[in-house]
Symmetry: C2
Subunit: 377 residues, 2 copies
Amino acid sequence: MSEVHVVRRSRLRERCATSAADGSPADAVLVSRPANIRYLTGRAPSGASLLLGAGGQDTLLLPAACDTPEPGVAHAHPGDELRIERLPGPDGDTAVAAADLAAKQGARELAVEEHHLTVSRHRAVTSVAPRLRLTGLGTAVEQQRVIKDDAEISALRIAAEITDQALGELLESILVGRTERHLALELERRLIDHGADGPAFPTSVGAGGNSGLPGHRPTDRRVEEGDFLSVRLGARYQGYGCQIGRTFVIGTAPDEWQIELYDLVFAAQRAGREALAPGAACRDVDHAARQVLDAGGYADALGVATGHGVGLEIGEDPRLSPAAMGKLDACVPVTVEPGVHLPGRGGVRIDDTLVVRPPADGGPELLTITTKELLAL
Amino acid sequence: MSEVHVVRRSRLRERCATSAADGSPADAVLVSRPANIRYLTGRAPSGASLLLGAGGQDTLLLPAACDTPEPGVAHAHPGDELRIERLPGPDGDTAVAAADLAAKQGARELAVEEHHLTVSRHRAVTSVAPRLRLTGLGTAVEQQRVIKDDAEISALRIAAEITDQALGELLESILVGRTERHLALELERRLIDHGADGPAFPTSVGAGGNSGLPGHRPTDRRVEEGDFLSVRLGARYQGYGCQIGRTFVIGTAPDEWQIELYDLVFAAQRAGREALAPGAACRDVDHAARQVLDAGGYADALGVATGHGVGLEIGEDPRLSPAAMGKLDACVPVTVEPGVHLPGRGGVRIDDTLVVRPPADGGPELLTITTKELLAL
């Protein structure tokens, strides 16, 4: 992957040279946000900072108390011109050290991630290199991350396969009488069994009145006959995370209201999926899903977004919401995840991860292929 | 717990009224760091901000897309004069809304957590309320959190009990042939089985050459005869997390070098534990443990700190390191966790969580009571 990272860093450099946030080119760039460092170097030890230096030299600075498995890493992958330095003392800040290094390398301007650096760290960066003019990098790296390359999409495909396997196995087991917590833990164990780095986000399992809540944390509520059971999980594989959400009915046959609600959410989710195309406005995709629920009388039950990008982070750009700006591109993986929760009764969520593709390529590529039929378990 | 939170907020208010970071009193205080919000309110929905307003009114602002289980929370616990407001739109920032509210309530100054707010958020806060003078709250809340009350220590005791139980059960099972990953997952499952909110930090299991590495992430390495096996885990209970670390030998009898290394780390850890007392300098506790390893010839193998505070966060103040300032107080829970790792061979870590107590009360209270004998499993 190391050549990929060199190319990504070059692209960022070019972008900064042509248009810094305030219009003037930045000599040097300081990246501190972990997912962005990982995107640009393939690694993200906690507390690290990446300096794209004025002379073309890239340096990854690690804290002394770094939890990297190999202490004393001092060289990069072959072909990757990345120097790795570890701070000598325990109390140093890698961003401050990076600014110091940038000044010593002759930079006059340094673009920093103002949406990640705290006020205190920014001040410390300023004071270590008072002649360095600090500018804003904005979300340049995040924007670069939106369109995925083949290797990234492959990682997402594998993440989705693992997720489908873990979920499929759970569905074959007895669910009645088990708690939400245990089911969530078992799903996470199965993700790792099948080769995930770990869960991409905390697994959500909601039974009965807890079903259909978007951010529900599993409780000791046991699964009972007649419940809606909603699960949301996703594997992380080589750093890339996907997301699936499904809702089931426990028992022999669903109630009338359960079938109606499920069909409505399913129709909304399908409308969202079908609206995915290169050039489609993000808000239009949201609207496609949302209007189905609106028409069913559930306008208020719906959350603020019906989907979002996935990649090195769950919930990255783009955002599919009424206020979202911008359009989709090909090779952008997103979730489509409308849901309705009726307080006291429960609800339905159906989430998929898909990659936007042009109609000529068969339209959106569905990564999470577990059935969306309403299963009675 | 709600009266406790009212008292904590009053103390913070008093502290800010008498000595703001720049010497002048702040009318209003904006707390954005999640652990600090939890300490002051008992809850910490993601993206929330807490305003201690100029008129004595405290408001917790929640984002519209909040993952609180109960959407639309609009009132606080009885006796807790905390108003809870949810932002109307999906794109609002609760810190910005809090600053806006502070200005409307007539505040002239607002103390913010500059070590938590990003440059971008700070700028947005400034521009929504340009007449409000922003000052630095510093780490006032973190400092207030250092000495724990009885309820906090009770929660830590239960966290430690759960942790000991989970570890004890693992030791009764067959370990040879299982991977680090699986052992870590099983430990985390057992933590939750015994009533933990979850793990307080990612469980570390290191076998053979991976043993004794402080921040080791579990791999697919299988446990083999003759290995050192080091585990580090901790339950979180009612928000409070503890930490235990133990090292075992796999097989019938440890090698000579394993016994020697273990005895040395054990002696260092005991020296650290015995140095814990109200009034003891943090650096002296570190020195007590460190000098034993230094004398054994392992000066370089040691990390930058030999312990740290625990509570709502793992790794909070105080820090036990050579550069640490300050002294210990009674009722401060800390870890003592020296370790040595020999590259290629493995190593030993022994971590305990203890509460600092005066000698008249029997000295430090050991919370994590799993044996520290060198067990051959």
